[in-house]
């Protein structure tokens, strides 16, 4: 009896700690959303409470000003393209590294993995020159190659580990039946590694979508800007009108947030996957 009572008390303390943190997390989001429905002046009236009169004009203005949609489209193209390439090349490499029993295979594996601890920003100055030399500066096409390179270390790590766990007998049976190695990859490996491909995509989605650094140093042309770089421009443009700024911030956060809320468990697993070593 006494035991269960102390246990209950412990839970009360736990709930209090969690609720305090939940408040600290949710409060700024509440501030963000309610104030985006105010106006330039009413935003100063009751900073942390709902508007007296809901104003939808901020959203209308931002969405009508075509730039926001251009930025959004650019980000979508860059992120989707980068994710497709990163999962494709990492799965090919993972297949090779898991099947190829050789000294070289180990060397290549460690070459890829070492990228997990190296921040690519260190290479920015040289990357800027390479991008310029390739004629990609000031276009959205300057971004996917770098994002793909950023995503490969964790992609190769997750996929190689995953493919190693597929029973060898499956591939050998197919080989004896005369299937080529590519056919094995295409018909057997790819369908089996779908969950791992999803993990790799989720892991990379947030850094790709939320990257500011590379767009900032590569892109200066208005119609080529990504969503976040565009947000910095709109921030400058609406500086005197915080309610519009907040509408821009809300709109830019919604896509990833919506994805997260629909599949939060996979997200949490995916984002922490790269860090948890076997």
């Amino acid at each position: 009896m006494k035991g269960s009572l102390t246990r209950q008390n412990k839970h009360i303390a736990s709930h209090i700690i969690m609720l305090v943190w939940v408040f600290i997390v949710v409060f700024p989001l509440w501030v963000l959303v309610i104030n985006s429905f105010k106006t330039r002046l009413t935003i100063y009236e009751n900073p942390f409470w709902i508007p007296k009169k809901w104003n939808f004009n901020n959203y209308v203005t931002v969405l009508r000003d075509g730039d926001f949609l251009t930025y959004f489209k650019n980000s979508l193209v860059v992120v989707v393209l980068s994710l497709v390439i990163v999962t494709l090349v990492s799965s090919l490499a993972g297949y090779a590294l898991a099947s190829w029993k050789s000294r070289y295979s180990t060397i290549f594996y460690f070459l890829f993995i070492s990228g997990m601890m190296l921040p690519i920003k260190i290479a920015s100055i040289r990357l800027l020159e390479i991008t310029r030399a390739l004629g990609l500066l000031n276009t959205i096409w300057s971004l996917p190659p770098i994002y793909v390179a950023m995503g490969i270390p964790v992609g190769v790590f997750i996929l190689t580990t995953f493919i190693r766990e597929i029973p060898k007998s499956l591939m050998e049976a197919a080989y004896i039946d005369g299937a080529s190695s590519f056919k094995i990859y295409h018909m057997i490996i790819l369908p089996l590694i779908r969950p791992a491909l999803a993990t790799v995509s989720i892991y990379n989605l947030i850094p790709f979508w939320n990257d500011l650094w590379f767009p900032l140093i590569f892109i200066n042309t208005e119609d080529q800007k990504t969503l976040l770089l565009g947000v910095t421009r709109l921030f400058g443009q609406y500086q005197t009108d915080w309610s519009k700024v907040l509408a821009v911030l809300t709109l830019s956060a919604i896509p990833v947030l919506a994805l997260y809320l629909t599949m939060s468990q996979q997200f949490i697993q995916g984002v922490t996957a790269g860090a948890v070593k076997g």
Partner: protein, 306 residues
Amino acid sequence: MSKTKHTLQKKQQWRWFLYLMPALLFYVLFMAYPMLDSLRLSLYTGNSPHTRSFVGLGNFSKLFSDPTISERYWGAFFNTWYFFLIHLIFQNALGIIFAVILTNETMKGRQLYQTIIFIPTTFAVLVTGYLWKLILNPVWSGDFFVSIGLPFLKHPWLGDTKTALTCVALVSCWQWMGIPTMMFVAALRNISEEVLEAARMEGAGFFRLFFSIKLPLIKPVVGIIAVLTFVNNFNAFDIVFAMENVNGAPGYSTDLIGTLFYRYGIAGQHPIGIPDAGLGAAIATITFLVLLVGVIPTLKRTQGGQ
């Protein structure tokens, strides 16, 4: 059978290399090579590949002997360490507490708490930064704090050189809290129930169980979190860019290595606006060495045996 298998392997050798090619191409061309070549660039001066000339350690001596540049560098260097230490203390302390709570099987609502804790992690640092910049603005929120009887909260948090860096660091902690928490949760779940049960049979209480069994077993995770935070913070840029500006206002008190690198190596210093690629590469090279010296021993010490 074994003979056919052998020739099969031989024949495959080059084929496997073909499978590696696409990933290698991207990885080498856009990561490994530019990174290593940036180290080389630190020994050169000139902004265009055509006019570049060798200066030996000239960039490094400029970085450490030019009065203005060296003052900025050391300022940013120590700010970055302070920024890192706040993360380390905050994330590990709160992360472990949250994780212990979230792995308590008999508690209700754990999934919901988990989901909420992780929300800020899905936000762009830029969005978080702009949002908190508004909340911490005394002109906007100050009167409200006074009206609820908390007048000490009306303070130019981001404009005061004493509080600015701490505030920026805490906002960054707010954003990333979900990751260390979930990594600790994963580590605690991996501890076998038998070990815990055995300890309970011996009469170990909650705190004893935590300090003698759980904590030693999650030490590798503390190491990984330390390394990840270390690497990320030596490159932090967005949060200062959003909340202050690339100069690390006020009075360079929030200047980090990331913002310093941007100003010297990429954008160019105000008012000249001409970047110094060699100097930038020198800053990057030192960061690279600091990371190497910091990361490898930490991993060795905490990941013992793996």
